[in-house]
């Protein structure tokens, strides 16, 4: 029995992106280790109650990102190179980009941003 993913209708991101993110989280958490055989597209679609074409798209995008490899006739697997550290860096990078954008909007210089970051880290260290 394949476990479905948790998707939210209230999430404004498209379904395929939600599916990609949940699969990456499973890989980072080690639930799905490198070499792990992913459920077939139809199995995951039925378990998640989402269309086949949407799961297909998520698998294709994960493949182009190098998280998943598809072997002809055998299905899809978590890539051996899908290092947890690498995925973690990509995940962290998303937040860093958001932080830099926010700093830009607020008109903070690079030095000011670094000072804020150091102050925040110090604050956390005290707790």
């Amino acid at each position: 029995m394949v476990e479905g993913l948790f998707l939210s209708q209230a999430d404004s991101r498209p379904m395929y992106l939600q599916i990609m993110e949940q699969i990456k989280l499973k890989v980072v958490a080690g639930d799905w280790p490198p070499g792990f055989a992913l459920p077939s597209i139809r199995e995951l679609a039925a378990a998640t109650k989402v269309s086949v074409i949407t799961v297909k798209r998520a698998y294709r995008e994960l493949e182009s990102e190098g998280v998943v490899v598809t072997r002809q006739g055998r299905g899809s697997f978590v890539a051996e190179s899908a290092g947890q550290a690498e995925l973690r860096d990509t995940e962290l990078n998303r937040y860093l980009v958001q932080l830099l954008d926010a700093a830009d909007r607020l008109g903070l210089s690079a030095d000011e941003l670094m000072l804020c970051l150091e102050a925040a880290l110090e604050e956390r260290g005290k707790q």
């Binding site: 404004s12 139809r42 039925a46 989402v50 269309s51 086949v52 074409i53």
Partner: protein, 294 residues
Amino acid sequence: MTDVIQMRGVAKSYQNFQLDHIDLTLPAGEIMGLVGVNGAGKSTTLRILMGLIAPDSGSVNVLGHSLPEQQVEAKRDVGFASEDMRLYKHKNLAWHMNFVQSFFPSWDNRYAQHLAQKFGLPLDQNLKGFSHGQRVKAALLLLLARRPGLLILDEPTTGLDPVARSEVLEELAEVLENENRSVLFSSHNTHDVEQLSDSITFLHDGRVLASEDIESFLEKWRCVRCKGDIDPQALQSSNLAEFRRSGSLINLKLDNYNDSTAAWLQSKGLEVVEVLRMTLEEIFIANVKRGRAQ
């Protein structure tokens, strides 16, 4: 891949309504949602597919059988449900299950029992006492348990409460596991069809406005917010479905959005502020509005 449904140039005229050269293709293993407002022609289209109405012209093929001539062969492996489905009021669900089982060797009794439990339907109560939702679920149970290769469902979720609707959609998802089973279902509500459908066909005033796989729909349409002063005439294009102005802000709904669209808008003197994805419902409404304008 073979097609389980093929309609080519199907037309049908009534006194106050006409179905205008409908082309529809459903490949095996896919789920298609037929979306349109009340009176768009959804039920007429589905009834033609079931051989219940003969078209004035055009060709109809279901599971390799030509309709309406070979409808008996076609119907063996088709499950059809519509709102006016009649069940026997003075018989209970168990009686109905035996009745359908006696006609269809493909009947899966274990699955039927599972569905009765899942839908919360008592087997021994006469259907007279069933609520509307229970009756709809009973009719669906009777056709799902036959495990037909093609399901044609006319508004299967209309009039159901949110819990019953989610139960029905969850059971339809079970069909996804088998690559040989296909579904065509209609709704006036895009939310019902968008989660499970591989493709969507928009029907309006007896015409197909658009028919495409769902990922393409969602990728092609964008709502673009721009700043600037421009005469709507200058943006006239078959891709523009909506133009609205609020102060200095202009809201555009655009089909076939791609990398060059922003440059095109800039060349017209507009500054792009924001590009937003659209929901299937917004895309449907934009399609209808564009259809009216043309």
